[in-house]
Amino acid sequence: MKLKYEFLIMDMGEGFSAVAVGEDAGKFHGMLQLNAVSADIMEQLKEETTPYKVHAYLKEKYPESTDDEIGNTLAGFLTTLSRLGLLSR
């Protein structure tokens, strides 16, 4: 799985924002407001990856979170990205 479009993700001080850039700028006109974990997931999705790899990455970065918490957060955000048509699987 991978993001369909090229995204720029930036820390805006009070959360993260993601916008489509480059040749894809015209394909997604919106903007995503993200928390730190969602921003991390999007960064991982810039390259072809798997849910398992992203889960492992998050587990290493957020060791205080349980597998279930990470799994639920990841599944929820992937569903959101799919619903928005931003994820290719």
Partner: protein
């Protein structure tokens, strides 16, 4: 033809195919050395025509066949906006009104009433005038943000070659009654993104996002629900000055 204009204290060379852009920029002509130059080719004009058609299709309205000289003005401003990012200047869609030596930027989706509300200020706030009614430039500096007039000023074409420190940004919405409330930056970020010029290149977009972030630390943001009565202007003015 070639000429130079000064926008947001930056002198810019313009190499155009048509004369109309020179006439449009007459109040902003400069003889100083240019910091950068924008050159227009037929492919830039064709890009604007395609973009206009794409936007019409996206908004499900019939396409308008604009003449090349008009499309050239859009191409010039697009390139100028990209170049000005290196000078910490961004283009924002909105109506910038000056009152008491300070600027107030009213922004909203098309059709909500920026022009109407700005006119209410001119009629009800003594000494107020419009710096730019549609696409002002905003310079973000260490001390403050400054709004500059430009000749790109929408259908009404109201602008002045002047500047003023930006006191607040006000997001307009229609309401039966008039009310205003201050809102936080995080709440307003998505709306800001809708109103700034969004360049396609990742580098330019990164600069834009950095400017928006800085902008958010220097300016207050308000949400105004308003009708078309004179009281709307007074509510906005008092809310942004005494609230």
């Amino acid at each position: 033809m070639f000429f130079k204009i000064k926008l947001a204290d930056v002198t810019i060379g313009v190499r155009s195919l048509y004369d109309g852009i020179f006439e449009m920029c007459r109040d902003y002509i400069s003889e100083q050395d240019a910091s950068f130059t924008v050159s227009i080719s037929q492919s830039d004009i064709d890009f604007e025509r395609k973009k206009s058609a794409d936007e019409a299709a996206f908004e499900r309205r019939p396409p308008v066949e604009y003449p090349d000289p008009y499309l050239e003005t859009l191409a010039v401003y697009r390139k100028i906006a990209a170049g000005l990012l290196d000078h910490n200047v961004m283009l924002m869609h909105g109506s910038a009104v000056c009152a008491g030596g300070q600027a107030y930027l009213f922004t909203a989706p098309s059709g909500v009433g920026k022009t109407t509300h700005s006119r209410l200020w001119l009629e009800n706030i003594e000494g107020s005038f419009i710096i730019n009614g549609d696409k002002p430039l905003i310079k973000v500096s260490d001390a403050c943000c400054t709004v500059y007039g430009t000749p790109w000023a929408g259908k009404e074409g109201v602008h002045q070659n002047t500047s003023a420190p930006l006191k607040a940004v006000c997001f307009l919405g229609r309401g039966a009654e008039n009310s205003i409330a201050e809102v936080g930056f995080s709440e307003i970020v998505p709306y800001l993104f809708q109103q700034v010029h969004r360049p396609a290149s990742p580098d330019a977009m990164r600069k834009t996002m950095n400017l928006i972030k800085e902008f958010g630390t220097k300016v207050k943001f308000y949400r105004l629900a308003c009708n078309m009565e004179p009281q709307a202007a007074l509510t906005a003015y008092e809310g942004m000055n005494n609230g």
